[in-house]
Each structure stands twice: as C-alpha cells, then as structure tokens.
C-alpha cells in the first residue's frame, strides 16, 4: 500500500496516510470484533446456561451490541466526587491504547501487518502487559475501596502472570530462532503437523499453559478477580459508566483477541489453515490469497476467544490467593521446565524421534478431539446430570 501511495504523494505524507489507514483498519477491526464477541459471549453464556440469550434485536439478536452501544453512548459520563478526575478520565484510554497498540505488530497474513517488527513477539507481550496500568489507575482514581481492591488485585495478578506468559512465549521462539512473528508463522506453513504446538511434548504443554496464563492476564474468568462481582461489586469498573465503561470492554475483548491471535501465531500456524499443501497467497494471487489467510487467522483467533468464553461460563472463580499460588507455585516452575525441556529437545533428541513425535502428537490430538466430539454428541444430558442441585 505504501508503494502505491508513494506514486501519488510525497514520501512523508504517504507514510502518515498509510499509518492512518492502518490505524483506522485496526480500530475498525477491534470495534467490529468487540461488537461480535459481546454478542457471542451472551449467546454462548445463554446456551451454556440452558437459555437462549439475546433474540430480540435483529436476526438472532445480532444487533443487541449496537443497541447496548447506543445506550452507553447516551448515558451520562459520570465522575464521582472526591476522585482524581484527570486520572479517572484517562484510565480507560490507557487500557484501550495498550490493547490497541498490541495489534500493530500482529501479522494477519503474510506481510499483512501494520508495522513489521523484528521483535514482534516481545513487543506484543510488552504492550499487552501495560494494559494493567489502565486498570490500576481506574481502581485508584475512583476513590472507592472496591475499585482500589480491584486495581491492586489486577496489578498483582497481571505482574505475576506475565512471567509464565513470557516464558511460554519463549518456548516456540526457541524453536523458531527469531522474535519476528511473521517469520514464526511462515515457518509453520504446510500441514497442521508442522504447527509448533505439535513440535514436541514441551510445546504441546506450553500451548495449554500459555492459553491458561493468557486468560489470566486478560483478567478473564476464572481469573477475573479485578471485577469479581460477588466480592467487589464490579471491581475497578464500579464507578464507570457510559462510553468510558465500554472502552474497558473494548480493551478487554481486544486483548482477548490479541492473546488468542498471538497463541495461534506462535503455536497454531498463524494464518495457515494446516489443511492445504500450498500457500493460498501464491496460489490464488496476492489479494484473494491474503484474504483467505486473514480469514483463517481471524477464525483461529475467534475460536480461541470462544474457548475463553466457554471457560468463563464453565468454571467457578478462584480466590485471589489461589490465583497467585497457581501462578507462582505451578505455572512459573512448569514454564521454566518447559523452556529447559525444549532447549534440550532441540539439542539432543535425534531427528527421527522428533519427526515421529510430531505425527504422534498431531494425530493423537486429532483422534482425541474426534472421540470427545463423538462421545459428546452421543451423550444426552439426563435430568439427573443437568443441574448442579439435582443431587444433594
């Protein structure tokens, strides 16, 4: 796009315009994604709880988010008396900016990235970890005890979970030998057994650990201690209303997708479908191929986001001490072990064994998924099993 623009505009202006367009695209994508995810979350939660979810506005209630949005925009922008007004106002934007900036370095397809960075993985991690600052500020500036608790909890939790998250990111990075996300994804092209998740037992475990830890660092249930309704009213969100409130949600869904996207780039082959022996971008031409790639990538990311939702409505919330000990006593040692393990695997395991492991893991997981699906399809919920209170 830059080269096209260069033909018509001075270089400097072209760059600014290109940057603006990229920012706009990313922002629009985040908006649309949040729009759909919020609807999706309500539908998923409804289904899990044996109800229908939103149905009234639009087909399947698809426009429910729009209606909510209109309501939020029109609400009064309320700032509590006695709060630090400046901080209270900027906190949601700090949080959103952090999540938004993470998308800058995320490649959606081969070369389809706002700013290609050599240290992409590192950058995404760094930026997403600064999202915590918005929450902390929100909690602090609200002049509300629950908010403060929420903020402090968030800070403690995210700072702790950052460690295993970074270590788990290092596991595929060790195999790839680069921090460039584009290169990492390109290395996984071809069939799905080339994905790094199936590379060896350590990456296989690392993927799950990373996913759980990422969920925690997005402060999603079961780790949503910062906004635990049953304990802290709504945590750092208590005093927020209207548009500022919705920015937090925008930030949350954005960072959920960013994390899922990072997971799919690092472990699940990025924009590679894993089913095609060729690269769509070369086979279908640049535009169509890249569109396919982007579609695949968004699909993968969204699938992981749906899993996060699924977890939220299936698992009970942990206590704060449990959250912390889970991280510091289990995830940190495990991820350290994984890092060491993957290095040892790379150095000392013969290539034949490594290749074999790849197929075993890939097809094993496939078989496991198939069996689970078949078993789930065959099992009908009986009245005894349907409710938690059915048995004393």
């Amino acid at each position: 796009m830059l080269s096209t623009l260069d033909q018509y505009l001075p270089h400097a202006v072209a760059i600014v315009v290109a940057a603006g367009v990229a920012a706009l695209v990313v922002f629009a994508f985040i908006g649309a994604a949040a729009f759909l995810f919020i609807w999706g979350e309500r539908k998923v939660s409804g289904r899990i709880q044996d109800r229908l979810g939103p149905t009234r506005v639009g087909k399947f209630g698809l426009l429910q988010s729009l209606a909510d949005g209109i309501k939020l925009v029109t609400k009064e922008d309320f700032v509590p008396a006695g709060s630090d007004k400046f901080l209270f106002r900027i906190a949601p934007f700090v949080a959103f900016c952090a999540a938004f900036t993470g998308f800058i370095a995320l490649p959606f397809a081969q070369g389809v990235v706002a700013q290609p960075l050599n240290v992409g993985a590192f950058f995404v991690l760094a930026v997403l970890s600064s999202e915590v600052f918005g929450v902390l500020l929100a909690g602090y500036s609200s002049a509300n005890k629950w908010s403060l608790f929420g903020g402090v909890r968030e800070a403690a939790q995210v700072v702790s979970y950052e460690i295993p998250r970074s270590l788990c990111v290092l596991v595929p990075v060790c195999i790839a030998g680069t921090l460039n996300l584009n290169t990492i994804a390109t290395q996984q092209e071809g069939f799905f057994w080339n994905w790094y998740v199936f590379h060896d037992p350590f990456t296989f475990v690392a993927f799950f650990v990373f996913f759980i830890v990422a969920t925690a660092s997005c402060k999603r249930a079961p780790f949503d201690l910062a906004e635990a309704e049953s304990e802290l009213v709504a945590g750092f969100l208590t005093e927020y209303s209207g548009m500022r409130w919705s920015y937090f949600f925008l930030a949350e869904y954005a960072s959920m997708f960013a994390m899922s996207a990072l997971a799919s780039i690092l472990f699940l082959g990025g924009w590679h479908s894993g089913l095609l022996p060729f690269e769509p971008a070369t086979a279908f031409g640049a535009i169509l191929g890249n569109l396919v790639d982007v579609g695949v990538f968004i699909l993968k990311g969204s699938a992981l986001v749906v899993v996060m939702m699924w977890m939220r409505w299936s698992l009970p919330r942990l206590r704060i001490d449990q959250v912390m000990s889970t991280c510091l006593e289990y995830f940190v040692p495990i991820s350290c072990g994984l890092l060491v393990g993957v290095c040892v695997w790379q150095l000392y395991v013969p290539s034949a064994v490594a290749e074999g492991t790849k197929y075993v893991l890939a097809f094993g997981s496939l078989a496991f998924a198939a069996i689970t699906l078949v078993a789930a399809a065959k099992t009908r919920p009986t009245p005894q099993h349907s409710g938690a209170f059915a048995k004393p």
Binding site: A126, V132, F133, Y140
Partner: protein, 182 residues
C-alpha cells in the same frame, strides 16, 4: 524537515511535557502516570532510532514492571487517598536553579558533541546479534547483571518481609486501621 525529525519533535515534546508533569504533579500516582508517558515516549524514541529490542525491553521492564511496582508502592504507603506532601517555594526555586544549571551545562556539552561529524552508522544490531554478544563478547556484564538480579531478588524479599510488630501498641494499630477510610 524530514519525517524522522518531525516524529522526533512530536515524541520529544511528549517526553519533555510529561517529564515536567512528573515533576509538578502533586500526587504520587499522577506523577506515575506522567512517568508512564515519558517512558512510553522514550520507548518509541528507541523504536524511532532503530533499537527495536531496547524499545520493547523498555516497555516490558519499565512500563509493565517498574512502574506498576512504583504505583503499587505508592498505594501501599500512602496515608490517605490522594495524599500530597507540599514543598516550600524556596526549595522549588533553588531546585529549579540547580536543574537549570545542569541542563545548561549538559546542553552546552551536547551541542559541542553534536558538532562533531557523525556518520549515519548502520542500524544497531537486533535481538539476535545482541543475544550472541551477551553470551560471547559481553558475557561479563551479562553475568554481573544476572548475579545482581539474584542478589536483588533475595535482598528485596528480605527487606520487605513482614516482621512481628510486637513493639507497636494497640493505639497505633487502631489509628492505622482508621487511617484506611477516607
């Protein structure tokens, strides 16, 4: 004015403005927010100069770690909400004078340095060569930093450990309890 320069001017003004903000802010958390902007600005300045790895490191260490720690500390130690500690005007005056003097001296040195011919050297090496350097030619600093970090880890944990505060009377602890509510 090239694009680089324009971006630099924008970044520099953001950095400078928020640095001033750090100094003049009354409450500690506001200072921290301005410091956040300063640090992010510096990180982007690194990206602008071409030191990508350092920029990302600056973000993850300072913004994600140090600053959160500072705010945390501020929250743990503040006596009440939005507490400020005022400083006398004379101190401001004198401090400002010293800071100005330092700035003047450093600026003079900077200008003199800037007049020397500089070459537009190739971009600083990225993460890969840097990592190799850390394990070969610059192994000693790397080891020193590692040991230093370990020591700091132990030391900080030791310093900040909870101690039995038997010496404190009930009156004091009661006042502390009351101090928590606004």
């Amino acid at each position: 004015m090239t694009l680089d320069l324009a971006l630099f001017v924008v970044l520099a003004s953001v950095i400078a403005a928020s640095a001033i903000g750090v100094v003049v802010a009354h409450t500690i958390v506001r200072s921290a927010v301005f410091l956040l902007f300063t640090l992010i600005g510096v990180a982007f300045l690194y990206f602008l100069i071409g030191a990508e790895f350092l920029g990302a490191a600056q973000l993850i260490v300072y913004v994600g770690g140090t600053l959160v720690l500072l705010v945390f500390g501020g929250m743990l130690t503040s006596g009440g909400p939005f507490q400020t500690l005022r400083v006398r005007r004379l101190e401001w005056l004198f401090g400002g004078f010293v800071a100005l003097a330092i700035f003047a001296a450093l600026a003079q040195v900077s200008l003199a340095l800037g007049q020397r011919p500089t070459t537009d050297a190739p971009l600083p090496p990225g993460a890969g060569p840097l990592g190799v350097a850390f394990l070969t030619s610059h192994l000693l600093p790397f080891e020193i930093v590692s040991v230093h970090l370990l020591v700091v880890l132990v030391g900080a944990a030791y310093l900040a450990r909870t101690r039995k505060r038997a010496a404190l009377g009930s009156e004091d602890s009661a006042s502390r309890r009351n101090g928590g509510t606004p």
